[in-house]
């Protein structure tokens, strides 16, 4: 091809067009990458405060650090951490959990924190370094220390750890534990000064809840291993409060749904309805076997009989309080990953109680 010939000019034109296309494409990709990076940095700043001195991303817990009493803020706080952890761009970063300023605390929040710190699945485990501090308020720090939190994480403090005889420290497990259910039943019998025959309901309930962790609690994106956590506390009003949590998909996600419920993308039905339905013994078992799914109705029966009181269930967006003959159900704005049960046993009401 001769230089300056019409064919040569055409070829040059075609080549220039092609190169321009390539350059524009490269430029756009670069711009996109930069904007996603700046978006990411902006997102991170919203979620956590970066401390360049310690190279930590600090997450500050809400003042009322309790899922049961302050579900929106506390669950929102945990969801921020989950959002951070599940973003692969954050792998290798250090997280600092700041609970120093909290003004009230319940053990459900500590259990959830433990689950996030301690039982991340192998996909996420060892990808992050967690550290944190203690509440500064002496009363809350006592509860924090006595909860058994330090059985699960490294303690670098100088104060000796204390243990109260009025509680059973947080215990965690994968499968149901006959021994732990027995220990808790004996603990209640001992506090009420009654025999185990009068506390059978508690043993049965604990085994069902622990076993549900395995059957229904698998996490969809494998962030957390399906484990259960349990804590019991005796208070001066002669009642024992139990907090039980599993870190799986939650009841509304795992129950069997009919066709209209499956296509209810706008969640018009409300997630609390699924929990109430499962408690009422309507055919909701994910196994689709008629003889299964009797555990939750049995627990409901214990509420109706009055042997357990103030049963509060928080699972996904559902927030249900079980009354002896009714329910208080609502949906939260935030989603809790897992299921939290809290209930009380009035020791003076137990058969044969001598208190």
């Amino acid at each position: 091809m001769r230089k300056n010939s019409p064919e040569y000019k055409l070829w040059i034109e075609r080549r220039n067009k092609k190169n321009l296309k390539k350059r524009t494409k490269r430029k756009l990709a670069k711009k996109r990458k930069q904007s996603s990076l700046s978006n990411y940095n902006r997102e991170i700043k919203k979620e956590a405060i970066y401390n360049p001195k310690t190279d930590n991303f600090t997450f500050t817990a809400p003042l009322d650090f309790s899922i049961v009493n302050n579900p929106v803020e506390t669950t929102g706080f945990f969801n921020k951490i989950i959002g951070f952890i599940t973003d692969k761009r954050n792998f290798g970063k250090k997280l600092f959990i700041d609970i120093s300023k909290i003004q009230s605390l319940t053990t459900d929040a500590l259990m959830y924190l433990l689950a996030l710190v301690n039982n991340l699945s192998e996909h996420f485990a060892n990808k992050y370094h967690f550290s944190g501090n203690e509440p500064t308020d002496a009363r809350i720090r006592k509860l924090f220390t006595e909860s058994g939190f330090y059985k699960f994480v490294k303690y670098r403090g100088t104060e000796p750890l204390t243990h109260s005889n009025d509680n059973i420290q947080i215990v965690s497990g994968e499968q149901y534990s006959n021994d732990f259910a027995k220990q808790l039943t004996d603990y209640v019998c001992d506090k009420a000064q009654t025999t185990k025959e009068n506390c059978k309901f508690l043993y049965e309930m604990l085994i069902e809840l622990m076993n549900n962790t395995q059957k229904h609690a698998y996490d969809n994106d494998n962030l957390l291993f399906p484990l259960w956590y349990c804590f019991a506390e005796y208070d001066s009003q002669s009642s024992v409060t139990f907090t039980f949590m599993d870190t799986g998909s939650g009841i509304p996600t795992t129950v069997q749904k009919n066709f209209s419920e499956r296509i209810d993308f706008l969640k018009l039905k409300g997630e609390n309805k699924y929990v109430i339905s499962a408690l009422n013994g309507e055919f909701r078992t994910a196994t689709r076997q008629m003889h299964r799914g009797k555990g939750l109705p049995k627990i409901r029966e214990f509420c109706s009989k009055g042997v357990i009181k103030n049963l509060h269930i928080l699972t996904n967006k559902a927030d249900v309080i079980v009354r002896p003959s009714s329910y208080d159900g609502k949906d939260l704005q935030v989603q809790l990953r897992g299921t939290l049960y809290q209930w009380e046993i009035d020791l003076s009401q137990l058969k044969g109680a001598q208190i």
């Binding site: 499968q175 006959n178 259910a181 025959e197 043993y203 049965e204 689709r288």
Partner: protein, 107 residues
């Protein structure tokens, strides 16, 4: 023939299947209940199940043990052959009988 669950099996029964943990309903059924049931059948005698003495019976344990037996053999046969004794919790007897009567696999 007598089968005392608390003395011969465990006072802390577990949940449904063997792979879920210790002292499950499946374990009880396979290791104790079913052999005794067959023995009672062969001798044409009642199998008396003593329920007292334990920490409690989770529903999944009872359903898998007794409902599972009824799914394997006949519901009527199981109801006729088994007799239950519970002084601590008499309502438990009807509960177990309801699991046997409604022992079906699918919806």
């Amino acid at each position: 023939m007598i089968l005392n669950i608390c003395k011969e099996f465990s006072d802390t029964p577990g949940a449904r299947y063997k792979n879920e943990g210790k002292y499950s309903g499946e374990e009880f059924r396979d290791d104790l209940l079913q052999p005794r049931f067959l023995e009672a059948e062969a001798n044409n005698e009642k199998l008396v199940i003593e329920l007292d003495g334990g920490y409690g019976y989770p529903t999944s344990f009872l359903e898998e043990a007794f409902g599972g037996l009824a799914r394997k053999y006949d519901i009527k046969k199981v109801l006729e052959r088994l007799e239950f004794v519970s002084e601590d919790e008499p309502a438990l007897i009807n509960e177990i009988k309801s699991y046997i009567s409604s022992a079906r696999d699918k919806k």
